[in-house]
């Protein structure tokens, strides 16, 4: 008989190995799924994981990697800080949408002014919008003990309704012939978030994501606040004894992750997306949760995991185009990835033992 025995210590190797095992298991399970559906599993996996980087269309899809990874990494960096403290912001998608709206609002209000301050002001407004949306669950938790998991998640749907209202109402492009959606910020130089180096896909969001990785690494490993966050996550009473006020921590973590998600939304709307529509939220906020966990809540891990998840987006699209794989492929893959990760994570806390039955 096989049973699970709790480990007293997690081998460092397993910490790194389980995400890799999860990725491999996802490929295998995904391959089996494709085979059942009548596709060539090897070709499908190759299309998703290999072709975007090294295939025929790689010159088109490689820049997409940074475009997709940047928001994921930016959001996941903030989420991971909160997750370390045991504060579960599940609503980054909502904070992303609100950040996109508040950031775009600055641009639309300033249109067509050409001044240099407009784009920085949009970034600040985007971060502020995301921060404010994150503070709602924070304050409700601090004042009434409401679960930040539920409140932040439900606020995603509120944000989506607000985005739709904006796209059809106040933010609708007056010169758009009645079409829903705001002005396209890509066509407004002072407000646009262009590709900084041609052919790389790197826009300001990529710079921000890199900065966020560095900053959160610094915070978590060198700064006393990061120490307090880690302490609060594993031993809340000890953190309290050290001088951490749980309320302050809740506000800090939800505010930080909200601000970063809001920034991500702004960079997207001012760059690749270009305009506020009712479909401003494309799921980065949810996928970033997978990125955070796949990256072991560690900044470097998040960097790698963000790139991998971006790959599944691009590869999934490619597989749709070239092999007629269904559009849900990406979501199935991402779901399986999280599932296998959580499953293999069991091995970091338990070891498998064979019981000799008496």
């Amino acid at each position: 008989m096989i049973r699970l025995v709790p480990r007293s210590d997690t081998p460092a190797l397993l910490q790194v190995a389980t995400p890799v095992m999860a990725v491999l298991a996802t490929m295998i399970a995904g391959g089996i799924l494709f085979a059942i559906m009548g596709y060539d599993p090897v070709a499908a996996i190759k299309t998703i994981f290999w072709d975007p980087l090294f295939g025929l269309a790689a010159s088109y899809s490689r820049p997409q990697l940074l475009v997709k990874a940047a928001p994921l990494i930016l959001i996941a960096s903030g989420l991971a800080v909160g997750f370390r403290a045991g504060i579960w912001n599940i609503g980054a998608e909502g904070q992303y949408i609100i950040g996109a709206i508040t950031g775009a609002a600055v641009a639309l209000a300033a249109y067509p002014a050409p001044e240099m301050w407009i784009f920085p002001a949009m970034v600040i407004a985007g971060a502020a919008g995301g921060w404010a949306w994150g503070m709602i669950p924070a304050l409700l938790r601090n004042w009434f003990g409401a679960s930040e998991i539920l409140v932040s998640l439900m606020l995603v749907y509120v944000a989506q309704r607000i985005a739709a209202w904006m796209a059809f109402g106040p933010m609708r492009n007056p010169e758009g012939f009645g079409m829903p959606g705001s002005r396209n910020l890509q066509q407004y130089p002072a407000a646009s978030n262009p590709e900084l180096i041609a052919g790389t896909g790197a826009h300001w969001g990529v710079v921000a994501a890199a900065a966020a990785v560095l900053a959160t690494w610094f915070l978590m490993s060198r700064h006393i606040r990061g120490f307090h966050i880690r302490a609060a996550g594993t031993a809340p009473r000890a953190a309290r004894f050290a001088g951490v006020r749980p309320e302050t921590l809740v506000a800090f973590c939800l505010g930080l992750s909200g601000a970063l998600a809001g920034m991500a939304g702004l960079f997207e709307v001012a760059g690749p997306a270009g305009q506020i529509t009712d479909k401003v939220g494309v799921g980065y906020g949810f996928t970033a949760i997978i990125v955070a966990f796949l990256g072991r809540l560690h900044p470097v891990g998040i960097l790698l995991a963000g790139l991998l998840l971006a790959l599944t987006y691009i590869g999934g699209e490619l597989a749709q185009l070239t092999m007629n794989l269904p559009a849900a492929t990406v979501q199935v893959f991402q779901g399986m990835l999280l599932f296998f990760l959580l499953g293999f994570d069991l091995l970091t806390r338990y070891r498998i033992a064979r019981r000799v039955t008496a």
């Binding site: 700064h223 006393i224 120490f227 594993t234 000890a238 309290r240 004894f241 050290a242 001088g243 008496a358």
Partner: protein, 506 residues
């Protein structure tokens, strides 16, 4: 009589990776005997009784119960064979009544009414006042223990194992317990009594088996030996006597005035106009049974709970509204009772655990930046000065034994040279050697001119350390009395020892 032994262990051995927990342990418990298992923490007492109770299986040797070979596969089998055990930590459900809790622990509980009658009968017979209809959450520690004991007695055990039962009791409650145990023994039940409290073993036990390093080092009639000799057998050498000299009370350091605080949680205790004064060089002992506001008082002093303005003054400065960090900077330090999870983060290294409290006073954190080299150096200094047995400062706190972690936690605070140090249960679950080291460090700290408050349930410890004694009872602090000339009986009454003494209303 001897051939009719209730229980016999013959050459019992048990190894864990890296440790020989028990080695060739043999002893015999006769019917009607209260038999003490005496030894320091880590001497192998717990492993031994776990084997008798079927929680752990011995590697070698054999056990005999009532003339039958005894090798239980699990506690259920042990219970069926006639072994019952009362653990140090109770396994009761707060929300359920006494009767419901007892029914949960039985193999075939009788109908509710019959069970209540039997509980009433047993509690009458053995002088254990207890109302079966009461909810466990409302019971004192002593009463909770009675629930556990009655649960055991309903199985008519041949051998009853008690694991450090008096650590949570007032002296009066302990007396009541011993009266019960004696009645049981007189009816022929054998009792295996685990403790490291020498006085109670000397007064109440018929026989003592002394364990050290997993082996039986001696077996004696404890009544014929002094506590000193027993201690020497237990630790394998003379205990260094505590040095109380060289202290004199100086200026007032800490004043607590009319400190009232609602209970922080549903299970907590409210503090009711607590007042105290602490002078330099003085040790103030605060006694009381657990759950009477000790944790709350420590939290109010450490700053985890903020109180009304003007309630807590350190050298005249009002710290009532300040958090733990500001209080530490001012010189008011604390060490909570729970080492793992409160005074230290279990998963963090010792180096990281210095950052929990010593950041400001030892310059380990400057402008928010962690100086890891300084933290490591400080951890090493604590390890050296307090003889913490550990591979190094990189070891996780949870990997240390209780005594070693406690030395580290106390050392971390003492070495910050506090003006006032407040400690809660500084030697709970700590072996005798480490306990002596911790106590001596508190005395040395007071001698250097600091004020120390020791909150403890161990009255011997309080009498040994403190100059003045007050009792904490249901959130109220009694007026202090000089410790000299105070007897255990007087202390017991101060603690509200009358608690539960009247026969329960059944």
């Amino acid at each position: 009589m001897i051939d009719a032994a209730v229980f016999q262990a013959k050459g019992i051995g048990k190894s864990y990776p890296g440790v020989r927990a028990n080695d060739g342990v043999s002893f015999t418990v006769a019917p009607g005997e209260i038999h003490a298992l005496l030894g320091e923490n880590g001497a192998g007492k717990s492993t031994l009784v776990k084997m008798i109770y079927g929680l752990v299986r011995p590697d070698d040797g054999e056990m005999v119960l009532n003339g039958q070979p005894h090798h239980p596969a699990d506690p259920r089998a042990a219970r069926a064979a006639g072994v019952a055990m009362v653990f140090q930590h109770f396994s009761l459900f707060d929300a359920l009544t006494v009767a419901e809790n007892i029914a949960l622990g039985m193999e075939n509980p009788p109908p509710r009414r019959e069970l209540s009658d039997r509980i009433a009968q047993v509690s009458q017979d053995f002088g254990l006042p207890l109302n079966p209809a009461r909810r466990v959450v409302t019971l004192s520690a002593g009463e909770r223990q009675r629930v556990e004991i009655i649960r055991c007695l309903l199985q008519n055990p041949r051998l009853l194992i008690m694991d450090e039962p008096t650590s949570v009791l007032t002296p009066q409650e302990a007396e009541l317990l011993f009266a019960t145990l004696r009645k049981l023994a007189d009816q022929g039940t054998a009792i295996l009594y685990i403790s490291h409290k020498l006085e109670e073993i000397r007064t109440h036990c018929d026989r003592a088996t002394i364990l050290r390093g997993g082996r039986v080092v001696d077996s004696c009639d404890p009544r014929e030996h002094s506590a000193r000799t027993l201690a020497a057998m237990m630790v394998g050498g003379e205990m260094r006597p505590i040095d109380r000299s060289g202290r004199q009370a100086g200026d007032v350091l800490l004043q607590v005035r009319a400190l009232s605080q609602p209970a922080p949680t549903a299970e907590g205790t409210a503090l009711k106009s607590v007042a105290l004064t602490l002078r330099a060089g003085e040790i103030l002992g605060i006694g009381g049974v657990a759950g009477n506001g000790q944790d709350e008082l420590l939290a109010a002093l450490s700053g985890e709970i903020r109180s009304a303005p003007g309630t807590i003054l350190l050298e005249g400065a009002d710290l009532s509204r300040h958090g733990p960090e500001a209080r530490r900077s001012a010189g008011l330090l604390a060490a909570p009772e729970d080492r793992l999870g409160h005074a230290a983060v279990p998963d963090f290294s010792l180096t990281d655990n210095t950052l929990l409290t010593a950041g400001a006073r030892k310059g380990l954190v400057r402008k928010g930046m962690i100086d890891r080299a300084a933290a490591r150096a400080f951890a090493e200094a604590v390890i050296r000065a307090f003889d913490v047995r550990t591979p190094g400062p990189g070891t996780a706190a949870k990997a240390l034994s209780g005594g070693n972690l406690q030395k580290f936690v106390i050392g971390r605070e003492v070495m910050q040279a506090p003006r006032v140090l407040v400690v809660n249960q500084p030697t709970w679950g700590v072996d005798a050697g480490a306990a002596a080291a911790v106590r001596q460090s508190l005395l040395d700290l007071a001698r250097s001119g600091a004020g120390v408050i020791v909150i403890s349930q161990d009255l011997d410890e309080l009498l040994e350390l403190s100059d003045r004694f007050c009792a904490l009872n249901e959130g109220r602090l009694s007026a202090p009395r000089p410790t000299d000339g105070l007897t255990l009986d007087q202390i017991g009454l101060m603690l509200g020892g009358a608690h539960g003494m009247e026969v329960a209303h059944l």
